[in-house]
Symmetry: C2
């Protein structure tokens, strides 16, 4: 069984990361999404182990001490992190595992796992990003402006990702992601065994 690849996907709020990732998984059953752990309260409709692993603050801190997170961060008073063990289990089973994550966590993972494939999803323009954020309906204008400000910060970090995909049309962005995953598999470092087997 060939081991899967770790894939870090980041991009500003409103860029459509989740939709792109969902569409990719629908096309490629070998791709799975990692589940984060959080200390925040479970909301109606959420399922433990599906949306998040809901754990206590004590458990979270214990896991940090035991170095069991690929990355972790604090957000609005709650803690969020990616437990390493379930990710490694999926990788061992041959799945490509996507971590859909903000840039701060993305950089932590790239440092910890230098073989991760990293993709930053950008918007065609800030105007379009603003339009998408406003189109959600559930965000007031002040929040939209804060998110756009946040997006500018993320764009400054984006050059540290290996690939940049512009999410203009969904199907193009998904096709771009698939090209990246295929090309990465064709890199000589992953294909060299074929030459040796042939010789």
């Amino acid at each position: 069984m060939k081991k899967g690849r770790l894939i870090v996907i980041s991009g500003p709020s409103g860029v459509g990361k989740g939709t792109v990732v969902k569409a990719l998984m629908a096309q490629d059953p070998r791709v799975k999404l990692s589940v984060s752990a959080t200390t925040r309260e479970m909301r109606p409709g959420e399922v433990h182990g599906v949306h998040y692993y809901f754990i206590s603050r004590e458990e979270f801190e214990q896991m940090i001490r035991e170095d069991r997170f690929l990355e972790h961060a604090q957000y609005v008073g709650n803690r969020y992190g990616t437990p390493e063990e379930p990710v490694d289990r999926m990788l061992e089973q041959g799945y490509d595992v996507i971590l859909e994550i903000e840039v701060q966590g993305g950089l932590q993972i790239m440092q910890r796992r230098p073989d991760a494939i990293s993709v930053f999803i950008a918007a065609p323009s800030f105007e379009i990003l603003g339009g998408r954020l406003r189109g959600r309906g559930d965000t007031d204008e002040e929040k939209v402006l804060m998110r756009l400000q946040q997006a500018r910060m993320e764009y400054l970090v984006a050059p540290q990702y290996q690939y940049i995909v512009v999410n203009d049309k969904l199907e193009d962005a998904v096709s771009d992601l698939r090209s990246i995953l295929r090309a990465e598999a064709l890199k000589t470092e992953h294909q060299q065994h074929l030459l040796k087997e042939a010789l």
Copy 2:
């Protein structure tokens, strides 16, 4: 106008490089094939500037002295080389230019143009490669064995290429090549200007 990319494609005789490249060009009008120069005699049906630039030995040596070849080599008493200037002209016009070339020339180009994309096309197995060479009909068994021996040498050089594509089914190999070209275009070094323009 965005500059095109230089693409080095090598692989053993009989692997089907020519067919793969032709199919790729049929799908992607932005891809062009480079034309080599040679000192050998023109054969019936060949056209100067299409199959080769047919030049004299003196012209060839003059071009070497003027460092006007991307690569050059000797083969069965004749000289072959890739003039740099027509390639650069096509690149400036925005075309991706494929150099379909044996590994010795391929390595010369990678050294001279480190930004070239390099792909080695391998056969699914040596049995299949032998079968394909025999299937051509125009080669006797001794020549087939010599070419297989040559292929073994080429496989030892292949790890110096960036990508390895196995030509099992033609359409898969073409799709793999297209994924490589797309993924290379999505690399952050080529996409970073989009972030700057957005900010």
